[in-house]
């Protein structure tokens, strides 16, 4: 077969449903799961005489996104009509943005195989979503097979985010999609619920021989609403195109859908190719002006971005890549850690990170909750860390106290202050650090474990540990481990 080294070229267009109370151009609700057409008001139904009015929060979300990706936010942008006929498009046109979008440029950083790459964005623009067609076989007016149209979704605000064709593999595309997904949720503009259609990707895929400057003909795979399907469909499509070309054929520019059952892409109705959308500025809407004051006001309310936090924490506290990745995996985790940082001194930060990566993360996972919902609040972790640091308790005991607090916190909210001390008191968990008391215990154990003493003295290192184990057991875990080590070593070497 052919010896061509093929290069894959991918660009992604992502439609994110914006988190608002109402639609982008009308006051109907956008809550998911309502009865058909109860959230479709006259404007959404395009009844004669209705007109669009722009939702402020949708604009704010666009500004947030622009700030988060370092893009240019257009001081003036224009809404345009995209004209075509389809039953889920009540007006016979979609209000979108064409020549002058609200956000221009910007980058999203992705991590792949330990490398960082910057994905350039072309633009992001505001538009309205269409309704839904239900293809169950309803019976129509004259007995014909019919589809049912639900326009609840028509008018939901969307931000369409478009990348330059800079991705070179399915893995890169998925890494970008995941990063974008985390980002839009992080800054609060999208709930990221892919099952409900809040985040949908279209992939533009083409291939060309390595070294060729011109792009190959691309196909668009539409409406991928899971990362798995995104990856599978791209892999299939790349293969399909390569095989087609190597067999002497030509790739036709078209729109394709992914069939997850057959795991293949197939062409949509070919009428698509004839589409002339006849874009023109919507005369019912005026130019959208965004001032620097508006942008500044939004900037003030923006949370620190994960990448910013990561560098900050690594620089200030020497945390590792692994640590910071874990702490910024979700906004709730990061917010929790930020609150915790306010309560502890610098040298407790690393132990804090370990604690959050360890017992805390396990408990959250096990009980299926977010850091925000955790029964143990940052103040409790701070108390725990402080008591470890000041020697009141050992790490081992701290784990027990953690479990007790978690269990109790699930039943009823824990008090803010003094919980750890109360449990230490209640269960008598104070670490024994008094030399006299420790010597008594150690002497007792040594007396009862002559065999181990002799084994140690005859060179068996392991016997030391077993003696330590016995001492810890005798002290019910409360003996201060480093002191025990010291005293035991002294006694055994004399």
């Amino acid at each position: 077969m052919s010896q061509t080294n093929w290069e894959v070229v991918i660009g992604l267009e992502t439609h994110t449903q914006l988190r608002t109370q109402s639609k982008i151009f009308s006051g109907a609700s956008i809550a998911f799961g309502a009865e058909p057409n109860v959230q479709a008001c006259p404007v959404d139904l395009a009844l004669p005489g209705t007109l669009p009015v722009l939702n402020q929060e949708a604009v704010n979300h666009a500004i947030r996104f622009g700030l988060a990706i370092g893009a240019t936010i257009a001081p003036v942008s224009i809404f345009a009509r995209k004209n075509y006929f389809y039953p889920d498009l009540p007006k016979g046109y979609q209000i979108s943005q064409f020549e002058l979008p609200v956000v221009i440029g910007g980058t999203v950083k992705i991590q792949l195989d330990g490398q960082t790459k910057e994905v350039q964005l072309t633009r992001a623009h505001l538009e309205e979503d269409a309704g839904k067609s239900l293809h169950d076989d309803f019976v129509g007016l004259h007995g014909e097979k019919s589809s049912g149209i639900d326009l609840n979704r028509a008018g939901t605000p969307l931000l369409e985010i478009v990348t330059e064709p800079v991705m070179r593999s399915a893995a890169e595309a998925v890494a970008y999609a995941k990063e974008l997904h985390a980002l839009v949720m992080w800054i609060g503009i999208c709930d990221g619920n892919m099952q409900e259609g809040s985040f949908r990707c279209d992939a533009n895929v083409s291939v060309r021989p390595f070294g060729q400057k011109e792009f190959g003909t691309r196909c668009e795979i539409k409406n991928l609403n899971s990362f798995k399907f995104l990856e599978e469909s791209i892999l299939y499509e790349v293969q399909r195109q390569i095989e087609l070309i190597e067999d002497g054929g030509k790739v036709r520019q078209e729109t394709r859908l992914y069939d997850p059952d057959r795991q293949e892409t197939r062409s949509m109705r070919s009428k698509e190719d004839a589409q002339d959308y006849r874009y023109f500025p919507d005369p019912d809407l005026l130019p959208l002006h965004i001032t620097s004051d508006m942008i500044d006001a939004i900037q003030l309310t923006m949370p620190a971005l994960p990448s910013t936090l990561r560098s900050q924490w690594q620089e200030s506290y020497g945390l590792s890549d692994y640590d910071v990745a874990l702490l910024t995996q979700s906004k709730s985790t990061a917010d929790y850690f930020i609150d915790l940082l306010k309560l502890i001194v610098a040298d407790l930060v690393k132990p804090a990170a370990n604690l959050m990566a360890g017992d805390f993360a396990s408990a959250l996972n096990r009980d299926g909750m977010d850091a925000t919902d955790s029964p143990i609040r940052p103040s409790h972790l701070a108390q725990l860390l402080q008591r470890i640091q000041d020697g009141t308790i050992s790490n081992k005991i701290a784990k027990d106290i953690f479990s007790i607090m978690w269990e109790r916190g699930l039943t009823s909210p824990l008090a803010e202050q003094g919980v750890v001390d109360a449990i230490i008191e209640e269960k008598g968990l104070k670490q024994i650090s008094d030399v006299g008391a420790l010597e008594k215990i150690i002497d007792q154990v040594l007396a009862e474990n002559q065999k181990s003493v002799e084994e140690f003295r005859s060179g068996k290192e392991k016997a030391f540990n077993s003696l330590v184990g016995q001492i810890m057991k005798a002290s019910k875990g409360k003996a201060n481990p480093s002191q025990v080590n010291q005293i035991l070593k002294d006694k055994l070497t004399n």
Binding site: I30, N37, A40, P42, L134
Partner: protein
Amino acid sequence: MNIEEINHLAKLSGLELNPEQTKQISKELENILSLVDELQSVDTSGVEPLFHPIAVIEALQQALRPDEATEGNNRMSNMLSAPAVHEGLFLVPKVIE
């Protein structure tokens, strides 16, 4: 304009024309287009389009609506004039994707 162009135009416009209508329309459109071709005689270099008439005296800005769900469930009255409805859905001949 030839028959193909008219048919394409009709499709884009969501209209159906029989051959007789197509011929008639073709003539009428040609007349209208020759009227409209006069536009080309004007030199508009450096002139910005005027999409909103008042923009010639003041820079208009789109007003922003506060984000509130103000519309209740008025499905019944909104769908009163619908030709075909079933359990709250608008019915149309089956859509093939």
